[in-house]
Symmetry: C2
Subunit: 250 residues, 2 copies
């Protein structure tokens, strides 16, 4: 059973300030918790309802589970309807990103703000075997509970780096392409693609900041099919990212 102090601490981790203070974050839900348990993330505490513990005993050989009531889970959860299981992990020590070692496609996000979008982008990157995501420091925090939730366990396999994106992209060796997603560029299906490169996505409201323009080797577009009459002004940022991942892996 969790102590009152523990419940209070877990609740505080909904906020970035306290995640950084305690060096901990929360993951909720079956897939999220199991995927992160099977990853280099280091577990601090695992809380679960009785039924979940019974069903998953076989997967919990070396894990110390604290059984909790529905009420306790609700108090700790950041979700409207709390899950059967919740884990607290240590924030990882991320090895610094090396711009000279790019050997595949990676994603770069210029200030995605919506937690659902970032989580979905991580999940989709994982599906398409993209292992690295670079984020500006203005991008929503990856350990925000809603990001973790939407990532559906893919944080276990995708490395997300927060850094000075302009400086990092400036250090990328010549010959590595940087594909920027724009509303008006070359149709992405028609460009010649190399074996590796950076796919750069702008924020929901403002797109890619113009300071990145000198570093972009290709402006790419997902063509709209709305004929004649007006259609949607743009695609959602996670949708656009996913279609680009698909197209680069096709």
């Amino acid at each position: 059973m969790p102590t009152k102090a523990q419940i209070k601490l877990v609740r505080s981790l909904h906020l970035k300030k306290f995640r950084n203070e305690y060096n901990l974050f929360v993951a909720e839900g079956h897939t999220n918790v199991l995927d992160l348990l099977n990853s280099p993330f280091r577990l601090q505490w695992l809380f679960a309802r009785e039924g979940w513990v019974e069903e998953n005993q076989g997967r919990l050989a070396d894990v110390d589970v604290q059984q909790v009531s529905g009420k306790e889970m609700e108090r700790m959860s950041s979700l409207k309807s709390s899950s059967e299981v919740m884990a607290v992990f240590k924030l990882p020590d991320m090895p610094p990103f090396n711009p000279h070692a790019i050997d595949d496609y990676i994603l770069a996000l210029d200030s995605i703000k919506d937690p659902g979008n970032l989580g979905t982008i991580i999940r989709t990157a994982d599906w398409f075997g993209i292992k690295t995501i670079l984020c500006t420091r203005e991008t929503v925090d990856v350990y925000n509970p809603k990001v973790v939730q939407a990532s559906m366990g893919s944080l276990a396999r995708v490395q997300v780096h927060y850094l000075d994106l302009l400086e990092t992209l400036s250090e990328i060796p010549t010959g590595i392409d940087v594909y920027g997603a724009y509303l008006h560029g070359e149709p992405v299906s028609q460009i010649e693609k190399s074996e590796k490169g950076v796919i750069l996505i702008g924020s929901e409201a403002h797109g890619i900041d113009k300071k990145y323009l000198p570093l972009i080797t290709h402006k790419v577009t997902i063509p709209s099919f709305a004929k004649g009459s007006k259609g949607a002004e743009s695609l959602n940022a996670a949708i656009a990212t996913s279609i680009l991942c698909y197209e680069f892996r096709r």
Copy 2:
């Protein structure tokens, strides 16, 4: 200025029960409101902050705008941070869907539950010029404020029908293909595509119900690129739908 009774009525429209009782729904935000004003939807009331009215006067020639305070807007809004503008529209009289008149790609949704997913699917369909979406009656209501919000005005151009999907798909003439989205099917980029057809997507938790299987002419898959090691178990339903729309329009 809105009356107390008006504010109460608008708030009640957050719930489907009252949307159906009053035959009204709410759209919030600049793009949503302007796109729906320029569509066959019939306006009931338009509420806006002073600044918005000043900036958009040119677009509001024949529209009766009620100026509201920030506090009034907050009370009526379903969003965490309310918008500058909100409109109440009449629920449309939707002409019945005719399965014998399919002359393009259409989407069919087997019980999408997440409002953000449905709204994003409508926005993406609009981008790709897909004008018709069929939904099971178990699919989240398209006039749910979160669906309207995520659709970003595309409801003005995409028709969403709620119907007996099994019966409707059974009536589709031979020769019109039904492409079902599965985790294990033919890679969608490799199948031969006709000029028209139905793209069927399953629910977030359960995929496509097996009762539809006899009606599906092609099981299609978005191949995962995660090599060797385990990757994401699945794609988000809106992401999968969008990649299929892209692939069928490419």
